[in-house]
Amino acid sequence: MIKFSEMQLKIPKMARPVFLVTGGMSEFRRAFPEKKTEELCIEALTMAAELINMSPAELKSYIHTAYYGHFADHFGDQLLGEAVIHDRLGLDPLGNIGIKTGGATGGSTLWEAFKTVASGYSDCTLAMGWERMDEVPTDEGNNYIACAADKDWETPLGHIYAGYYAVMAQRYWKVFGKEEPSFRETLAKIAVKHRGYGYHNPFAHGGMKITVKDVLNSPVVAYPLRALDCCLMSVGAACAILADEKTAFKMCKNPLRIYVAAGSHTLRVADRRNMEIPLLPHETPETYKDFSKRYPGADRYPGFTSFLATRMSAYYAYRMAGIQNPLDDLDVAELHDAFTISDVQSYEDLGFRPYGQGRDYVESGDCYHTNPHTGKPGRLPSNLSGGLIGCMHAVGATGIMQTVELMLQIWGRHGEIHGDPKRWEAFGKKKPEDWVDLQVKGAKRGLAISHAGVGSHVTCTIVIHPNHLLKQD
């Protein structure tokens, strides 16, 4: 049993409020044979400028420091890629730094940019993320990704990351899924939902209309996970601009409050030692009384069924932002669905449901834009972008893309940006005739989870309309 000190559990306190001013994205694809990374980054920054009616040059004039997230130098075959992009964006001589935390790189990039504004070091920062995953064939890409596991103890075992995730799915299915076939169907419903939402997103490259049967019949990658349970491998860029209050309102009319917190846990699932469950504001020790009796096999926390890093990022972030109950206080979420199983695990780590009951978030219809059982809005819709399964996983960009999506939702501009036929056309696509506006009406607060490896790094980003804050500064 390991324990944490009071100092370690201190809720982060910022020296001043931080605002999300704008953000942008490139299109995401499996490959861009005719575009360099810098072209994608410039597209993202240009979109960010256009959203607040600025020219890129005008927007750049506010930026004081720059954070660049890209996970894998070896994918892009370029060390110091951040220096290349910084130069191509014409941001010299500003201080800049590269951020790398695997799949959480985008979120971590925001975390650093956030702290820089909060501390007063900069009044305006750029958080830009990208990934170049098309310069090797998929199996070599899988090997590269597996290099993010422990290279002595894990990577040689198959050189495939999906395998390291699937053992968690297997254990979860036994302990919390009670080995019921219907649990496997719940996972499939998540893939159907995210691919389906991606279908309405012009930036996405994994959108499609599929059925539960399609998922269950797709090829096994690492049983019980199948091809359609897995995230995409993508190329693209996303960026966000953060600023202090005075600068933010100078730059645009409607900046949003942003909070970012982070957690971590062992790189190897193998090294997770047993501990007490850190409680979120709406949980009590009663919530988990007799837990291992109710769920035989749940004798270890976080074991193979939960992510301590996600729980800790929420532990800090909820209290920073004043969130008491995520289902009551949040309107929209973007979760890190690297695999359908990790989506379910995250529901519990984030307290959308107590540990062991994550699938109910799907089965109840709460997770949908429109609850399929009631025809009414879902209680807390998630991954309306399509997420990593339906939209993209251009690793360094992912956590930032999620935050841009939250921003568009809270601005009420989701339909405007995703439904513009010219945007579809610019990406070489035709807007579907049955396109659906996935704007969450009246969205005021959103949450995004950016997650690395099998839970080594996780960030929790919360975006709130400033008129709907939950906590005084």
């Binding site: 040689p156 495939i160 254990r171 049983y223 997770r272």
Partner: protein, 197 residues
């Protein structure tokens, strides 16, 4: 293609690497063109050999070739984790950061190893050398606070199944692949080539 003889090898003398043979190969790339012949990029072939130090974990990987499994234990009386046994091997206790004691847990593994979780996969990344389908297993041991990732070489895995270790003693790779597991009661005749109990 480089011959085996020309492949780079290394040894350590007086604390320094001494290298022999070729550690990289240079080959020309080729253009990548569109259907209409327009240039988009180039291929960039390369082959190189990395040197990797096992540091304080070397004893574990050497041990596998001698049919031994070593773990480590925190013996610091002032540490809350005192007595914790780590497998995967940790050179230092993660709590007190004092160097942990290397202990032989081969018998413990033979007597108490149980499958905690598993998966079976036919897909691998590039450079995989394990036989497909790979049966990944996560193995728990009595009194050990961590759970080892490995692979099953005989039979079908199940959660809770008792397994025993086997070791690649013929032509070892000096990697984690030299350790595998089979269901308790598996006869010698069923072991994969090169492995022994």
């Amino acid at each position: 293609m480089a011959t085996t003889k020309s492949l780079g090898t290394a040894r350590v003398e007086k604390g320094r690497y001494e290298l022999e043979g070729k550690f990289h190969r240079i080959e020309p790339g080729t253009p990548i063109r569109r259907e209409d012949g327009k240039l988009c990029g180039v291929t960039k072939p390369r082959s190189l050999i990395h040197l990797h130090s096992y540091g304080g974990e070397a004893v574990f990987f050497e041990g596998l070739t001698k049919r031994k499994i070593y773990a480590t234990r925190c013996d610091n009386p002032a540490c809350d984790a005192k007595g914790s046994i780590f497998l995967p091997f940790r050179i230092y206790c993660p709590d007190c950061l004092r160097k942990a004691t290397v202990i032989d847990v081969t018998d413990l593994c033979r007597k108490t190893a149980t499958i905690y979780s598993f998966i079976v996969t036919e897909r691998t990344g590039a450079f995989n050398t394990l036989k497909i389908p790979i049966k990944f297993i996560n193995v728990s041991f009595e009194g050990v606070c961590t759970i080892l990732m490995s692979y099953l070489s005989v039979g079908e895995p199940k959660i809770g199944m008792r397994v025993v270790p086997i070791f690649r003693t013929r032509n070892p790779t000096y990697t984690i692949e030299d350790l595998s597991w089979v269901p308790e009661g598996t006869p010698d005749s069923k072991l994969p080539k090169g492995f022994t109990f």
